[in-house]
């Protein structure tokens, strides 16, 4: 069984919001649209977005990490939002695991959003229906698009390639390999919703320089002489 999902690489997300607006522009005129904006040119502008990038500061100066954190529907394998829906408007597709809202069935009772622990459903104040990420279901099966463009708009846009898309049930898919090999994790595992979307953590690359590496036999000082009146080779104290 297929479970499509996003894998978001926090190790390379620079927080540019490309995924946010490119999601918006694809979906506002797509099968899930329009995505209303309230007060577009007034105070407190706000609107329907399927995807947001948030920013957290982790740690205290100077050991601070600035973490940009994109968040959209996680397409849970055991979605809390689906069984609570009284109309069946909220559903999970058997064929690919995408959690969708049927906008023509939704009565706008908002109950699904209460059940979701992640705050990723957004009620459209104009259309009066619940909306959410569709994984660009109206793109990814569009045979008129070249195969490599049959991906969610956010994934195509992402400049540093922080968003991977694929079948997390296929152990050899790009996303499964990334989850397996790069420490992929899910959000709020305690909610037992089994999110399909995963996140890849920050990783640190360091360079270790050992004292004995500092001076090599081909050191140009052998040609040029020692600068700053230093005798060759430098002592360990001098090096540190």
């Amino acid at each position: 069984m297929t479970q499509l999902a996003l894998v978001i690489d926090l190790n390379v997300c620079v927080g540019c919001h490309a995924c946010v607006t490119n999601c918006k522009q694809w979906n506002t005129s797509g099968a899930a649209g329009a995505l209303t904006d309230c007060n577009p040119y007034e105070a407190e502008p706000n609107g329907t977005f399927f995807n947001r990038v948030q920013t957290f500061e982790v740690g205290q100066y100077p050991k601070t990490e600035t973490v940009h954190f994109p968040k959209s529907c996680l397409h849970c394998e055991d979605p809390a939002c689906v069984p609570v829906c009284p109309t069946g408007a909220s559903y999970k597709r058997k064929s690919d695991g995408i959690v969708l809202v049927d906008y023509d069935k939704c009565i706008g009772c908002k109950y699904c959003s209460w059940a979701c622990p992640y705050g990723v459903r957004e009620f459209d104040e104009q259309r009066k229906v619940m909306t959410k990420c569709t994984l660009c279901v109206d793109r990814i099966y569009d045979m008129s698009l070249p195969e490599d463009r049959r991906k969610p708009s956010c994934v195509l846009a992402c400049p540093p390639g922080a968003r991977l898309f694929g079948d997390v049930h296929d152990p050899e898919s790009e996303v499964s390999v990334a989850i397996r090999e790069r420490g992929g994790y899910t959000l709020m595992p305690e909610a037992n919703t089994k999110p399909a979307n995963h996140y890849l953590p920050r990783r640190k690359t360091t360079v270790t320089v050992r004292d004995e590496e500092l001076y090599r036999s081909d050191n140009p000082h052998k040609i040029d002489g020692a600068p700053f009146d230093r005798n060759l080779p430098p002592t360990n104290e001098e090096l540190n």
């Binding site: 620079v14 195509l156 590496e213």
Partner: protein
């Protein structure tokens, strides 16, 4: 489960007509290729063009919000004239026709051109067609032209171009594909942003190490493997200490320095000589290029005597002190660098930068060891300029990037020169894994364009004899009169800022207002918000724009603004020219300007309209071509005196830099059949051919010409033939800058030719140091650092960099207003609450704003996102929009001039070498707002009302759905 009613897959408007057109994005300076999908003529989706070499299909937040720019209610659609009887700045306009508009401009400008052309000043902001705007100014005959580079990052361009013949910006960049370690110093998210984001992503995935040195951990620094906080304006000290450590440990690439830089060249050390500090030259030696003689000496360490540089089998001594046969004491340039750095120890730098000495050493070691031990060798044979054949191209995988963070300080030029020298010491210039050039760079040091040389260059009804901007090589290239006074309004290329290659747009209004050096008549501003975020000292500049002479006339008599959107600045116009958006016009990213070249060869690009212009708006290019014809500017006029070009596309196809040169704005599909690249006669079908290729042209150099281009014989010959260089001489890296020394000698009275006014001699002699050095930012010297203990910085967020975009309904939801970020401890010590109202004050002004605690900023720095704050009503936002009530602009705290000196003279608040605006030098203090104060940002300005021709904004709600009728809320 019942089946869905709403089909999640089918097109919502299956019968709508759809089409896709390619063009080039202009939401910022990055210029990605885009595919615009239209539905019933409306923009449905803008995607990155996967076939485009720059962005390869990706697109940013701004690019994805182009729809909201296209359909913004702030669009200007009619030419507007300030209503008779109203005062400038009252924002009262009436519609006029384009005929009337051109008549007004033609009458006024032809009079100025016939009498005193310099009274017409043309300054442009986010201009991506300086090849045209600069040419128009030159043809008009006014020297008063510049784009926004002077207040952006000219230090980055100049500091590196005067050192290695290329720079970051669009001119070159880090080769992250092959680098192992990458150091980004200061904020540098701006130019070339999408490719850089993509490259950083790949770099990190490949296990590269990314170190960010920045007072603030934002932007790309967020994902750095290590963040090293640094005090603003002290980067130069850090870099010098790193260089010292690398020299001290012998971690420099000696082979590279000896052959490809001037490290081994002998410098005259005879203090009594007029040539002191200049390179020794062998009169009998091979000059290579008489215009830029290369007849230098090395001290050959094998034979222990002076020999011609690059003599066969010779190897220059890098250290030492020698006596020439004629008795002149000399030293190799590298020896002088070493002497300069003697005291620049890590401990010295630690006290300035706030970075501990151990960290400085560690960083220096990891740079040096990586460069030395992880060499890259590509099996690409190539031949260097002196004929030596190399079997491989080698590279040292240490990459750097920097932009505004280093540049926007008054010590930025020397800091950036230090960086270029560090990169050279590590042997990373135009080599794999290091820094790579992009065509048309590398260019000569400095490039060949020179500014006009004196007031005689400005004559009625006569074009300038050269471009208004250029690269001075010696004091004689300065644009000054007999007394050494500036000829340009912005005082560029004067002794105050000799190497101001991009002009000083930030001083144009102040100088015009004060009449120093002279008053002007007409100021034409294109796409620059000079009454708001593009000016330092915004509050005062707004007053200057409406200030009057005793006779009742405005001090700046006539202001014309061309912009696509209503703004704070259009309110101060006497005449508004409504520009098109990027989706409505022809444009080119020309090789004559700032193309979008890749490391492996030149690339240029065009824009082709994908939708019709809104209302009566007209591309500024068309305005210039029309005016050029009406004013009978030679380049725009045919032999019979009639108009030469039908329109801008016609101009682009047929214009040649010189008759028959075969070089025009575009390099692709030249020749009458379109079968020539780079150079060839005009091709009437050139636009169609660009369109067919996705609106760009890419030229791949052979691998043997892709590296070491400063000294690559094959490349240099090709570049000369392709018209990218006048000459084909090698571009030797200036570890020691003889050019700077030339200015210093003039300042010391040791050099014949142009002389600085006496009061400027010390200034020039101090800062024109041929060796890199660090000095405290100029504003520090005249600030009470006890009273103003903090630095204040701005950055633009990635979702708005280089773009207008508070009028953008989507982007303004991400950044609706701004806070001042203050280190948690610093803010708490000052008694300011997280989220509370506070004051930030400099010696120039004060601003009330909201505070946000942050752990990601060093304690001595406060910062905010720039240009989120708006003047009430600007960009057709409602008067109470958050941007104006909670958002704020830090510019009110930053002066465009330093304080008056003993003679009452005020210098520009700029780098004394390049005139780069020193935005990041300002010193401030902070304190809480008192209870009972208004809970809004300060200063506030009167609400701007919409002007005629602007669509009313959707109130309440808006729902964009391309091709569908119902989209917006109550009017």
């Amino acid at each position: 489960m019942s089946s869905p009613i709403h089909d999640p897959i089918s097109s919502p408007l299956p019968d709508a007509a759809t089409e896709t057109k390619t063009t080039t994005c202009y939401m910022c300076a990055c210029r990605c290729g885009i595919k615009v999908h239209l539905r019933d003529g409306e923009v449905r989706y803008i995607e990155g063009n996967p076939d485009h070499p720059l962005n390869k299909g990706v697109i940013c937040a701004k690019g994805g919000s182009g729809i909201m720019k296209q359909y913004s209610p702030a669009r200007l659609t009619k030419p507007l004239r300030r209503k008779a009887g109203t005062e400038r700045g009252e924002n009262q306009f009436e519609e006029i026709s384009w005929d009337e508009t051109f008549d007004i401009l033609e009458k006024r400008l032809s009079h100025l051109r016939a009498t005193d052309p310099k009274k017409f000043a043309l300054f442009t902001g986010r201009d991506q067609m300086q090849a045209l705007t600069g040419m128009f100014a030159r043809q008009f005959g006014t020297p008063n032209y510049a784009a926004h580079g002077g207040f952006c990052s000219v230090n980055m361009a100049a500091g590196m171009i005067y050192t290695i013949g290329g720079s970051f910006w669009e001119f070159g960049g880090p080769d992250l594909e092959r680098a192992k370690v990458f150091y980004m110093i200061g904020t540098a998210e701006d130019h070339h942003s999408n490719p850089l984001k993509s490259a950083i992503g790949d770099f990190k995935r490949n296990g590269g190490r990314f170190v960010a040195i920045n007072p603030v951990r934002s932007g790309y620094a967020a994902i750095a493997d290590e963040w090293i906080p640094i005090k603003p304006g002290t980067d130069g000290a850090l870099i010098l200490a790193i260089i010292r450590e690398i020299i001290a440990l012998g971690l420099y690439d000696r082979d590279f320095l000896a052959r490809y830089t001037n490290s081994g060249q002998l410098v005259n050390q005879d203090e009594s000589s007029k040539e002191f500090g200049m390179m020794m030259r062998n009169p009998e030696g091979d000059k290579i290029n008489p215009l830029r003689p290369h007849n230098f000496y090395w001290w050959d360490r094998h034979t222990n005597q002076a020999v011609d540089d690059h003599a066969k089998h010779a190897d220059p001594a890098l250290f030492g002190s020698f006596i020439m046969p004629d008795g002149t004491p000399v030293k190799p340039a590298f020896q002088l660098l070493k002497e300069r750095l003697a005291d620049c120890t890590p401990d010295w730098a630690a006290s300035i930068t706030g970075i501990d000495a151990a960290t400085i050493k560690r960083i220096a070691h990891e740079m040096g060891i990586t460069a030395r031990d992880q060499k890259i060798e590509l099996p690409i044979p190539w031949t260097d300029w002196w004929g030596e054949e190399h079997e491989t191209v080698t590279g040292n995988p240490v990459a750097f990037h920097a932009m505004r963070g280093l540049a926007a300080h008054s010590n930025g030029f020397q800091t950036i020169r230090s960086l270029a020298i560090l990169m050279s010491l590590l042997g990373t210039i135009d080599r794999p894994g290091g820094f790579r050039h992009k065509a048309p760079y590398p260019r000569a040091i400095p490039p060949n364009a020179r500014p006009p040389k004196g007031p005689e260059a400005v004559q009625p009804n006569t074009p300038l004899n050269g471009a208004p901007l250029g690269w001075p090589e010696s004091p004689d290239d300065l644009f000054v009169d007999a007394e050494g006074k500036p000829v340009r309004l912005d005082k560029a290329f004067s002794w105050e800022h000799p190497l101001s290659a991009h002009g000083l747009m930030h001083n144009a209004i102040t100088n015009a207002w004060r009449g120093d050096p002279y008053p002007i008549d007409t100021l034409l501003l294109f796409m620059a918000n000079m009454a708001w975020n593009s000016s330092m000292n915004t509050s005062e500049v707004r007053k200057m724009l409406v200030d009057k002479n005793p006779d009742g006339g405005y001090k700046i008599p006539f202001i014309v603004v061309c912009d696509a959107f209503q703004s704070e600045t259009t309110a101060f116009a006497d005449l508004i020219l409504p520009d098109t958006t990027y989706l409505e016009r022809h444009d080119c990213m020309s090789m004559l300007d700032r193309p979008i070249s890749e490391f492996d060869g030149p690339v240029d690009a065009v824009r082709i309209p994908v939708v019709a212009p809104k209302g009566d708006c007209k591309p500024f290019q068309e305005v210039l071509v029309e005016l050029g014809g009406r004013l009978k500017l030679p380049a725009f006029t045919n032999a019979e005196g009639g108009r030469k070009f039908k329109n801008y596309p016609d101009f682009v196809v047929n214009y040649e830099t010189a008759p028959g040169s075969g070089i025009g704005f575009l390099t692709g599909w030249r020749g009458k059949d379109g079968d020539k690249a780079m150079r060839g006669e005009p091709n009437p079908k050139q636009w169609e051919m660009y369109e067919k290729n996705g609106c760009f042209f890419q030229y791949h150099l052979p691998p043997s010409s892709q590296y070491m281009r400063n000294w690559n014989k094959e490349y240099m010959e090709w570049a000369q033939q392709a018209g990218m260089r006048r000459d084909n001489d090698p571009v030797i890296i200036h570890i020691y800058s003889e050019i700077l020394q030339g200015f210093r000698l003039a300042a010391e009275g040791k050099r014949a030719g142009k002389q600085p006014p006496d009061e400027l001699r010390e200034r020039v002699a101090t800062y024109f140091d041929p060796l890199p050095f660090w000095y405290a930012p100029l504003e520090d010297l005249e600030s009470d650092l006890q009273h103003y203990p903090l630095n204040a910085l701005t950055q633009r967020p990635m979702a708005m960099y280089h773009s207008w975009d508070s009028q953008n309904a989507w982007l303004r939801q991400i950044h609706t207003y701004n806070h001042l970020y203050v280190n948690t401890q610093t803010a708490a010590d000052a008694g300011i609450a997280d989220g509370g109202w506070m004051w930030v004050e400099s010696q120039w002004g004060k601003v009330r704003c909201l505070c946000r605690y942050s752990e990601a900023v060093e304690p001595g720095t406060v910062w905010t996102w720039n240009a989120i704050g708006k003047s009430s009503g600007a960009w057709n936002l409602k008067g109470d929009a958050n941007e104006s009530k909670q958002g704020f602009l830090l510019n009110h705290l930053i002066s465009e001039e330093l304080g008056a000196n003993a003679d009452g003279k005020r210098f520009s608040n700029s780098d004394p070498i390049t005139g780069q605006a020193a935005w990041y030098d300002v010193r401030v203090r902070i304190y809480p707002a008192t209870a009972g104060e208004a809970e809004e940002s300060s200063p506030q300005f009167e609400t701007l009302n919409p002007v005629p021709g602007m669509a009313s904004r959707n109130m309440g709600w808006q729902a964009w759905f391309a091709g569908s009728k119902k989209k917006g809320g109550a009017r």
